[in-house]
């Protein structure tokens, strides 16, 4: 793919470095240690954190933010632990994902992954209850992912019917798990998301 220099955004690297966790981006010297040790690259060969970093440094904003591979990172921190330049790749990738999410919310981009929906649904449970509520999470995530409530519930049953029964039989998913947890200080959690979050 030829790179058209007149389409580059020279400020993109500063945008990433201005995000919490993105600060060390420019230290990368492209050794590829991150990519060689990545357990995801082994399974998804197109996933190449070195390349995402180089494209970011070059200012290929659109290509980076719309790359579906951004969303297969596990945040397992192997790249960060091994990087000789302390780029903190897992944190840099996370900073890039947050920029992409904001661009999608602003209507400038369509993210080709369900992960932002899942992360959002998870955060909504925290805002509401202060702790993770599995059932609330599934009830928000699956319909959004599938496009309708009915389709969502069908997909959820397909993924979780066997697992749910297994956990129920072992006493790990009883009536207690059906009820939402309610942290007394949940008003504070709501405030945290409002004051510190990006939404």
């Amino acid at each position: 793919m030829p790179i058209k220099t007149w389409e580059l955004d020279p400020n993109f690297k500063n945008e990433i470095m201005g995000e919490a966790g993105g600060e060390r981006l420019a230290s990368c010297f492209q050794c590829s240690t991150c990519t060689l040790g990545c357990p995801i690259t082994e399974i998804v060969p197109s996933y190449n954190p070195r390349k995402i970093i180089q494209m970011s440094l070059l200012g290929m904003r659109k290509e980076v933010l719309s790359n579906p591979d951004l969303w297969v990172c596990l945040i397992c921190q192997t790249c960060t632990a091994r990087c000789p330049q302390d780029v903190r790749i897992a944190d840099v990738l996370s900073a890039i994902r947050r920029i992409a999410e904001r661009e999608e919310e602003a209507g400038n981009l369509k993210i080709d992954s369900h992960r932002p929906l899942f992360d959002k649904a998870f955060q909504h449970q925290l805002e509401k209850y202060g702790r993770l509520y599995d059932i609330g999470l599934a009830k928000e995530y699956y319909p959004k992912k599938e496009g309708s409530f009915i389709k969502g519930m069908k997909a959820m049953m397909k993924d979780y019917k066997d697992f749910g029964m297994r956990m129920f039989k072992k006493g790990k998913m009883g009536p207690k798990a059906m009820l939402a947890p309610k942290v007394k200080g949940r008003a504070v959690i709501k405030k945290i998301f409002k004051e510190m979050g990006e939404e």
């Binding site: 899942f118 072992k170 405030k191």
Partner: protein
Amino acid sequence: MSINKLAYYPGCPSDGTAVDQDMSTKAVFEKLGVELVEVEDWNCCGAAEVEDPRVVYALNARNLAIAEKEDLDIVTPCSICYYNLERSNKALKADEALCTKLKGIDSSLDYGGKIKTKHVLDVFVNDIGMDEISSKLEKKVNVKVAPYYGCYIGRPPETAFDDPDNPVLMDKLIELIGGEIVPNFNYMKTVCCGGPLMMTRGDIAFDMARKILDVAKNAGADCISLACPLCGMMLDGKQADIEKALGITIGMPVVYITQLLGLALGIEPNKLGLNKNAVDTKEILGKVV
């Protein structure tokens, strides 16, 4: 032994999918003479889904402040909770402006930076110590174990408390209680289980978990031992789903290190939740002598 009381941060799966880890953690600490005081009204650490570090720091400032009021260090059995608590603790101790901002949001976020955060493995081996544990052992757990550490014990460097590529704390405990570490599993010790992608890219997550299970099986392990509830969900809870989806048979028991340690301390298997692991653990119980 220098500690006799700790604040306990159970983490969200503790009354559901990882209740066995919660039960065994409490039972083991009781037997070791360390009192656990649950962090009152604790909130979620942010897990892997809250990606903004500033939100993670704020969420955990509340947890840390609650324990600090009791003047107790925090211990947690979950690797992800540990990572979030510890990095928040570090950030809050170093960043006064952040602390001031949090205090302005709510007085319950006013954390003075006076306590430590620890993972159970670290407490067992480095604080309580091998001699102390050894003096309380009642049984020999004669099993071949594949010790699986996952991500946040040796990584990232600033919160790690064991070697990033070949961690050994769990190995030490297993050997202490009479178990055997299987050969040829070392290179899988810290390869991610796939857990964080389970809900959005189940295909990748299953592939990753399968590798760990396969390597443990081929190495001749009686079981895999763990120190994280998400790893437990993937390798134990979802094992039957992985078998079904990939058309394979694995049948590998997966237990928490606290369950193995509890057996060696002579604790009843049901008190350790060993009847709650998804893959049957009876064969392991037969090897406790």
